[in-house]
């Protein structure tokens, strides 16, 4: 079996000496390899990626690799999923038992018996399209944050989204909150540690020091005109990487940007070589859709399954949530595809034995105005809905639903009962075992919910 042979190879020597082989996962006092700044764990993960690159995966089934992947790569992973546009929390989890809801939303309110009841708060029901989330919640794998935001909420998409991305109400911060986490624990030679599954970099993982990557999907990161590269293409691409390295210390900022993109693309391409064939084998049924979202989640699960050294991944959910008009139709399809894909992703991780390593965080830049606007839509609001999904999540509500009476601010928006910076701090401390104060400005001033089982 190829995996056993992989274990015998020299490159694999140090990763061999980890959990599952009689040694502790992290040996205290063991120095990191000199001059690399690699931590023990990231070296192990890197070693595995290297082994995969060397041997390729074309004829190896994923199941064969599961064992060593889960034994060797025990880095926890956060998947950040963005509902773009300000998702209407009062549709996702709607206050069916509140008469005010039907006054504020004469045309948009969901029928009182629609969807499934939310077991933790008798006032609320799940949107009919969110049955998959209700199911995961029933299994104790979803923590709902029914009203999350911050004080003096900004109603601009871009400002509020920026605040969420940088983890502070600071318009000037240029690194994402997950990017700063990666700057703290990541390495200079591993762009996969922060992975944006998008055609563009998701700003939440924008780093200041270490490289991160953006790919449409792992099976799409090929430079060849046809599947795979010709030997000549490979040689030119290697030269592109060398050109990037050669310009890395240019005095000109724009030239350095080109150099960094060239070097990182080159490294990413090397790391992903050979992965393509394995992505097709998926142990869960994802929704069929023209949208990339389910395919990206499937690709992410496959990458995690092969032990690629990913710590944070960020992507956008399908749909456009800025529902100023025609809200009902837009939400019905977008929410269903999002929730069904997340359920499939969870099942996929469970089948691969990765469920304990992955936490999914779903967020939006704000909720929407409680009173509908008369265009069958809603304008920008304040408090919104957040979700934490995963086998390790505590599965209990974080903060309460404030209600539509005293729960509204003077502009008619839902008051937040949780601060996003408190949730970020809790993720950093409880999930990543990292000092939140080093990453979130004024972290001490936000109370931390308890996130994990």
């Amino acid at each position: 079996m190829l995996t056993r042979r992989a274990c015998a190879c020299d490159d694999y020597g140090r990763s061999h000496a980890v959990a599952g082989n009689g040694l502790p996962a992290i040996e205290t006092g063991m120095p990191a390899p000199a001059g690399t700044g690699l931590t023990r764990r990231s070296f192990v993960a890197k070693g595995l990626g290297l082994a995969l690159t060397v041997y390729g995966l074309d004829r190896v089934s994923i199941v064969d690799l599961d064992g060593i992947a889960s034994a060797a790569t025990n880095d926890r992973v956060l998947v950040s999923i963005f509902l773009d546009g300000g998702a209407d929390s009062l549709s996702m989890l709607f206050p069916a038992a509140d008469g005010l809801y039907y006054q504020y939303r004469p045309t948009l309110a969901l029928p009182q018996s629609a969807g499934l009841p939310f077991s933790e708060d008798g006032r609320l029901r799940w949107h009919p399209s969110l049955g998959s989330l209700a199911q995961l919640h029933g299994e104790g794998k979803v923590s709902v944050i029914p009203a999350i935001g911050y004080t003096t909420p900004d109603k601009s998409h871009f400002t509020s989204r920026h605040y969420w991305e940088v983890g502070a109400t600071n318009a000037g911060l240029a690194t994402g909150w997950l990017g700063r986490y990666l700057d703290r624990v990541g390495t200079r030679d591993n762009p996969l540690q922060g992975l944006s599954l998008d055609s563009r970099l998701q700003p939440a993982i924008a780093t200041g020091k270490v490289p991160v990557a953006s790919i449409d999907g792992p099976d799409r990161y090929t430079f060849g005109a046809r599947r795979g590269e010709t030997p000549l293409e490979s040689r030119v691409l290697d030269a592109v990487g060398q050109m990037g390295a050669a310009h890395a210390s240019s005095r000109d900022g724009a030239i350095r940007q080109v150099a960094a993109a060239a070097s990182q693309s080159h490294r990413l391409r090397r790391e992903l070589q050979g992965l393509g064939a394995s992505v097709g084998q998926v142990p869960a049924s994802y929704p069929q859709s023209n949208d990339e979202f389910p395919r990206r989640l499937a690709g992410l699960a496959a990458m995690l399954g092969t032990g690629l050294p990913i710590r944070c991944a960020a992507l956008k959910a399908p749909g456009m949530y800025d529902t100023h008009a025609d809200q009902a139709g837009e939400l019905t399809t977008a929410l269903k595809l999002t929730a069904d894909s997340l359920l499939a992703f969870q099942r996929d991780l469970e089948a691969r034995g990765l469920a304990d390593r992955v936490l999914v965080h779903v967020w939006s830049e704000f909720g929407r105005r409680v009173r509908e606007n008369g265009s069958d839509g809603t304008d920008h609001g304040a408090g919104g809905l957040g979700l934490l999904i995963g086998a390790r999540t505590r599965g209990r509500m974080i903060g309460e639903f404030p209600g539509l009476g005293s729960g509204l601010d003077e502009q008619g928006n839902l008051r937040a009962t949780s601060d996003f910076r408190g949730v970020y701090s809790a993720i950093l401390e409880q999930w990543f075992d990292t000092d939140a104060a080093a990453i979130i400005p004024n972290a001490a001033s936000f109370s931390r919910p308890s996130l994990l089982k």
Partner: protein, 432 residues
């Protein structure tokens, strides 16, 4: 009124080339030297006050050799505009249309036909270097924009804040620069009155102003009170004390990557306040020393693509340029959101791959004969073919190594193609 500083250094082909990139899509063969002969002022004026447009080179076709159908066929809208960028004799007009497309970023939604976006594109071209007051009015009643930001849903009985907010935040003032949530609500009332009419048979939207849908009441916006309507809404934004500073800084940022010196910023604001004219500002920016002596700028993907085709004499035929544009991070007519593209972050591992594929398509048709068999000469020739004036040492070193290697294994013609592909990804070509 204090004048802005004017660049006094030598204006040779190198400076003319930078000007052609910043104010257009780069030079065709020989164009930089010809422009340099006009001197700085003459060169800038030839761009800001061009004659009638003529398109150079053959009409583009799709993969089957048919003429483009930009109103109908998927992706042909992108190809149509890219072709115009490549073949136009008025590059700055197209470049300004691209600026306005990014500034008033609109996505095609809710029944607007592809032609609706091309009509909006024509609006940007018509107002390319004219009055921003006129441009703002035209955009405010543009069907694609009305639909995109729900202007047609904004009525006396149910105001919709979408356009009111973005016109302040993104189009005229800048985020949180002197307006309140209350101003947005009142402005939305001023903007009421538009109605979209769908004609199913033709699949088009017409937009009409209907007084009965307009809120005739008194509104207070920015501390001013009146029975404002949509033209007033535009005027109030233009007359807001924070508008000129926003406008100048944003316009400047499309041409120069570093912020303007404070005195320049102020002088440009004063110039702008005098009639909201765009052309004098662009003329001042294009003659400013910062453009010629400052740092380089990463070319936007559309500029990069059009520029490669102009430099090599290629054209927009055959390849799927819309997909290539999307992969490189700029699908024309499909900005990522109402704030437009992030002009400071064009490059990451995804979009870099897109540029690689884009370069491959652009260089496809560039054949060659009698290729040198010597690595150094081959690199020089490949660089000249891409219009690169001078190669930096790091690029030359890597390219020469690749050339020698490929000459040995693949022969001169293939080696030259390989080196061209490499050079197209170089910082020399990706920045200007």
């Amino acid at each position: 009124m204090a004048a802005t500083p004017v660049y006094r250094g030598p204006f040779g082909a190198a400076q003319a080339e930078r000007l052609l990139w910043r104010a257009g899509f780069g030079p065709r063969k020989g164009e930089a030297a010809a422009l340099a002969r006009k001197g700085l002022r003459g060169a800038v004026r030839s761009l800001t006050r061009p004659g009638a447009e003529h398109l150079v080179g053959p009409e583009p076709t799709d993969a089957q050799g048919r003429p483009l159908a930009p109103f109908d066929a998927a992706g042909h809208d992108h190809m149509w505009w890219l072709d115009r960028m490549v073949r136009t004799s008025r590059p700055l007009v197209e470049r300004m249309a691209l600026v306005w497309h990014d500034w008033f970023a609109t996505q095609r939604v809710g029944g607007i036909p592809q032609k609706g976006m091309l009509d909006q594109n024509e609006l940007f071209r018509r107002n390319a270097l004219g009055s921003f007051a006129q441009l703002l009015e035209d955009v405010t009643k543009d069907p694609a924009m009305l639909r995109w930001l729900n202007g047609d849903k904004n009525t006396v009985r149910s105001p919709n804040e979408n356009y009111a907010r973005e016109m302040m935040e993104l189009f005229t003032l800048g985020v949180n620069r002197g307006y309140t949530e209350q101003d947005i609500r009142e402005q939305a009332r001023a903007l009421t009155g538009w109605r979209g009419i769908r004609r199913r048979a033709e699949g088009i939207y017409d937009f009409v102003y209907e007084p009965r849908l307009h809120d005739p009441g008194t509104k207070t916006v920015f501390g001013k009170t009146g029975a404002f309507a949509w033209q007033d809404a535009c005027r109030l934004c233009l007359q807001h004390p924070n508008h000129p500073s926003f406008f100048v800084a944003k316009l400047w940022s499309y041409f120069v990557p570093t912020a303007p010196p404070r005195a320049t910023q102020r002088a440009l604001e004063a110039l702008y306040r005098d009639g909201y004219q765009v052309r004098p500002l662009v003329e001042a920016i294009l003659q400013h020393p910062a453009l010629y002596t400052g740092p380089r700028l990463v070319k936007p993907p559309a500029v990069y693509a059009a520029g490669l085709l102009r430099a090599t004499g290629g054209g927009v035929s055959g390849a799927n340029w819309a997909n290539l544009g999307a992969t490189a991070g700029q699908r024309l007519f499909r900005p990522p959101n109402v704030a437009g593209w992030d002009d400071k972050r064009w490059l990451d591992t995804s979009t870099f791959r897109g540029r690689w594929l884009l370069a491959g398509a652009a260089l496809q048709s560039t054949g060659s004969s009698a290729t040198p068999r010597n690595a150094k000469a081959l690199v020089d020739r490949a660089a000249a073919g891409l219009g690169i004036r001078s190669l930096t040492k790091p690029t030359r070193t890597v390219a020469t190594r690749l050339a020698a290697d490929a000459l040995r294994s693949n022969g001169p013609d293939v080696a030259e193609r390989a080196v061209r592909q490499l050079l197209a990804l170089s910082p020399e070509v990706q920045t200007c």
